[in-house]
């Protein structure tokens, strides 16, 4: 079974600073996808960034980037120049395409950006 672990239940960062959220996962699969989703308070979950396991290059989306370490099964999210609107729950998710895109989510990290 796949497991996704987020070891930081809560984090805070000063506005404009950089923060890194951790995620580790356990799988025997070689082909899979990893995601970071953001869930703002009382709002819908939205995709932040996606990484394909067979790609060596770390994914980047504007201020968001990942550090994907396949051998270590680690997938951390770095948020640069943090903004107040980044305050949200962040979920790391694992998806294995061989079984019809079944998703496994971590327990989430609550990030607060302090003005």
């Amino acid at each position: 079974a796949q497991t996704v672990t987020q070891s930081q239940p809560e984090m805070s960062v000063q506005e404009a600073e950089t923060v890194t959220l951790s995620c580790t996962y356990d799988t025997s699969e070689n082909n899979y996808y990893l995601f970071w989703y953001k869930q703002p308070p009382s709002r819908q979950m939205i995709l932040v960034i996606r990484q394909e396991a067979y790609k060596q290059q770390n994914a980047t989306e504007n201020r968001f980037s990942v550090n994907f370490q396949k051998a270590a099964k680690s997938f951390s999210l770095k948020i640069s120049d943090s903004q107040l609107g980044d305050t949200a729950m962040y979920f790391c998710a694992f998806m294995r395409p061989n079984t019809g895109n079944q998703f496994y989510f971590g327990t989430g990290t609550s990030l607060t950006v302090i003005p």
């Binding site: 996704v4 987020q6 996808y33 989703y37 709002r43 819908q44 979950m45 939205i46 995709l47 996606r50 394909e52 979920f91 998710a93 998806m95 395409p97 079984t99 019809g100 895109n101 079944q102 998703f103 496994y104 989510f105 971590g106 327990t107 989430g108």
Partner: protein, 116 residues
């Protein structure tokens, strides 16, 4: 483009009652997911449809939960009878398909269920 729609947004029932949730995915999305998100936890997949067929329902408590996706578009999730531990947010998500590049999930606003 309209997003994933869910109703109702909130529901309060007493234990042993029945409840149903409705989801309308993004037009053209073949894959539909129902998740249960208990407070303080990540979403847990309950059931996944590909068009109107079930791909995975291994974590659906089938003694009390049921779901259908007639005609491969809208879907309903039912709980009968509800238990206290069913209190959670029920999220619906959809994606274009299951192929690489189509697998981004778009989530609805969720239905918050409270069982008293």
């Amino acid at each position: 483009e309209a997003g994933v729609a869910q109703s109702p947004r909130y529901k309060i029932i007493e234990k042993r009652q029945s409840v149903a949730f409705w989801c309308n995915p993004i037009s053209g999305h073949a894959t539909l997911y129902w998740y249960q998100q208990i407070l303080g936890q990540g979403p847990k997949l309950l059931i996944q449809f590909q068009n109107n067929g079930v791909v995975d329902d291994s974590q659906l408590p089938k003694d009390r939960f049921s779901a259908e996706r007639l005609k491969g578009v809208d879907s309903t999730l039912k709980i009968q009878p509800a238990k206290l531990e069913d209190s959670a947010v029920y999220l619906c998500a959809s994606s274009l398909g299951v192929a690489a590049g189509d697998n981004e999930q778009f989530f609805g606003p969720g239905t918050r269920l409270t069982v008293l």
